[in-house]
């Protein structure tokens, strides 16, 4: 390469001096690309550093003095440090530019490796600050993610994803509060083969509330005698006051449990715990006191989250399928008017070609996620919105791929069919269509594959499918279920990926 023509031949020292404005020396010597590169890099780096410094200053001035900046997740010193490091590299790059201008004035400069290295490092430093990259934090807080990640990666623990139905074996005694004057509380009749309880006393007060001397009121101590239980199987104490749901009694953080002896009998004393009595109650509140043995019956079953995930992934597959099908139907006609070789005949068809192309490029450049948000406004959240969003994007994407494969077909057959006196429609059906079927099939299957992957994301913003429940489980921290859903997605995507590759292989 010959040195280019200089605009102004200054002596080397002077040429270096004018390069205090980055790139000016190079520009004067006619190295225009080099000049633009150096100027834009150095100037933008200085600009970015100034902005970050300004940010750091604002952070100091707007905070009330009572707030210690060290408490913030990102103290302004960090920004300051980054900015200073970036300045050093910016200045190094600038100085190199001046030196380079000195060299340029003499002979052809070598490739700007060193200078570009300085400037690129400086840019990456500023970038780390802007995006708040904090590797130390990522390492320090790794414990937050490891257990969850292991749950997600392996959700298939039998005790987590399997359960068995339970059968209750209840003995029930009746108790009331406060005590009434009308004699003992009537107890249920013992039933043959069922356990039963004897209770004493059969009335009293629950715990809670304050006595006039300020001390917490202790509840009545109740003694239960159980008969006819299954021997040596643990039983739980459960209390069910009228009008509120039953609850297990917990004392000192432990559930109250009892194990009947060999005859199926036990004796259990406990202090009546606190429970809320509705303020509208008149007279005594009846309370059912239950001692319950439970037995798992039937075969193990998969948890309902598994079935939910399965339903959702099926919904996702069909969501993608419907979007691909609608996209196909609409993209095929569109692709023919977006193929230059078919539309270049006159100015009208060519205008249509440009308009359709423009439409497809605009639609394609908007992500399906955005289309989903728009579709939700239109038809409300759910899989239909997802179908609309993916269909819109699929039309544009497939239309472009289809039209490009139409443009790349062999012109020979078209010429030959035209020469037989066929009209345009016949030419398309006989010469164009047979040639484009294989690429169309291939692109369509590929698109379905993409749509399945995209629809998992679209669910997250309300477009239906597995993404919807996945996001919900992440929010409530149910990482076992997240794992199930993630596995379903991975399995389906893997199978589809493999299948689409095989089908495309066969068709092309």
């Amino acid at each position: 390469m010959k040195p280019p023509r200089s605009l102004l031949s200054l002596p080397p020292i002077l040429n270096a001096f004018v390069s205090l404005i980055p790139g000016l020396g190079q520009l004067l010597r006619g190295y225009i690309t080099r000049a633009i590169l150096i100027f834009s890099f150095v100037a933008s780096l200085y600009g970015l550093v100034l902005w970050r410094l300004d940010d750091a200053k604002i952070a100091v001035t707007v905070l009330p003095p009572s707030i210690d900046t060290a408490d913030l997740s990102r103290p302004q010193e960090t920004t300051l440090t980054y900015a200073v490091v970036a300045i050093i590299f910016a200045v190094l790059g600038h100085l190199w530019g001046i030196f380079d201008a000195y060299v340029c004035a003499g002979h052809k400069p070598s490739p700007p490796r060193l200078g570009m290295t300085f400037l690129i490092i400086g840019t990456l430093v500023v970038g780390s600050d802007i995006t708040e990259i904090n590797i130390a934090k990522a390492v320090r807080e790794i414990d937050d993610i490891v257990p969850r990640l292991s749950q997600i990666l392996w959700p298939w623990n039998p005790e987590k994803i399997l359960y068995r139905d339970k059968e209750n074996f209840d003995g029930v005694a009746l108790w009331e509060t406060p005590c009434q004057e009308d004699g003992p509380v009537e107890q249920p009749e013992p039933v043959e083969g069922q356990p039963y309880l004897e209770i004493a006393p059969d009335c009293g007060d629950p715990s809670g509330g304050r006595l006039p001397n300020g001390r917490r009121r202790e509840g009545t101590e109740v003694t239960l005698k159980g008969y006819n239980y299954r021997p040596n199987e643990q039983a739980e104490l459960i209390i069910n006051p009228a009008s509120i749901p039953e609850f297990r009694v917990v004392v000192d953080g432990e559930r109250v449990r009892v194990t009947p002896d060999d005859n199926g009998q036990f004796e259990l004393s406990f202090v009546m715990p606190n429970f809320t009595i509705p303020s509208t109650t008149v007279g005594a509140v009846p309370v059912r006191i239950i001692v319950r043995q439970q037995k798992e019956i039937g075969s193990p079953k998969l948890v309902k989250e598994f079935w939910l995930s399965l339903e959702a992934i099926i919904e996702t597959i069909f969501l993608a399928l419907m979007a691909t099908a609608f996209g196909l139907i609409l993209a095929v006609p569109m692709s023919f008017v977006a193929a230059r070789n078919l539309m270049a005949t006159n100015i009208i068809t060519l205008t249509i070609y440009y308009l359709v192309r423009l439409f497809m490029n605009v639609v394609r450049s908007i992500e399906p996620l955005i289309w989903a948000l728009i579709a939700i406004v239109w038809v409300g959240p759910g899989p239909f919105a997802g179908v609309i969003a993916l269909t819109i994007h699929t039309i544009a994407a497939l239309g472009k791929l289809y039209s490009e494969s139409i443009e790349s077909i062999d012109d020979g057959p078209i010429e030959a069919i035209q020469a037989t006196g066929a009209d345009r429609l016949q030419t398309i059906m006989y010469a164009v269509v047979p040639q484009v079927v294989p690429p169309f099939v291939s692109f369509t299957i590929y698109r379905w594959d993409i749509n399945v992957r995209m629809s998992t994301i679209i669910g997250a913003v309300g477009g239906g499918g597995i993404g919807a429940i996945l996001v919900q489980w992440i929010r409530i921290g149910d990482y076992d279920s997240v794992g199930i859903a993630v596995w379903m997605i991975a399995i389906v995507v893997t199978i589809l990926d493999y299948a689409s590759a095989r089908i495309r292989e066969r068709y092309v």
Binding site: G412, A416, I417, T420, A422, Q426, Y430, A431, V437
Partner: protein, 267 residues
Amino acid sequence: MDAPVLRIENLSKTYEDGTQALVDVSFEIRKGEFLVIIGLSGSGKSTLLRCINRLVEPTSGHIWFDGIDIAQVKGTKLRSTRRQIGMIFQQFNLVKRSKVITNVISGRLGYLNPLWSVVGYVPPQVRQDAFQALQQVGIAEKAQNRADALSGGQQQRVGIARALMQKPKIILADEPVASLDPVLAYSILDYLEKLNREHGMTVLCSLHYLDLVQRYADRVIGLRDGKIVYEGSKADIQNITDTQFRQIYGEEAQRLGGGLTGGLQKG
């Protein structure tokens, strides 16, 4: 051999990039004639043939065929004219993924209702005719094969069968054997010759090899840089002189063998 089937008058073609492919070309073909056009690549042979059925738009001049000027017709009239002019191509131009029979049937499209092509319906009579055309070129047993499963020679026979389906008054053949082995070249040209001799089909054919020209042509036109530089009868071409040869193929061209077996080396 009587009235002219086709008369070209002052035909010129200048491409958009300024290339003058044809300059004031005039000649005529009589009914039942086997007219061969020779010349180097780029001499305008393909452009000339493609102007005749308007695959290429001529810049000026007239193409008289069956009482009409092809250079002026449009729309339906153009298509009904095209269907009377069969064409076979150097690269065969078959739809490779379609069946052989479908390729042959496509030759009849100019006669069929366009709407039928959308649903893929072909009248039984047309299908029968297509089988007959394939029989005529001797590959009826390949009817259900895909076109790209055939050898080059077989593909060109399909090309001929497709042209026959047009029930043409004239066949244009653009270098029909240039992509084939020399041995196959004879068999393809034999078919054209048979059509010409036995059915009185008018043939306008461009060829490369001088020995083929000497063997098949009734009459020869030499093109160079879009102008006619040579015109000769069957007898003339058998005894083509070196001077005439250089006129057509340029100063650097070498005659190989010479005489009847003369070929040419491109300059």
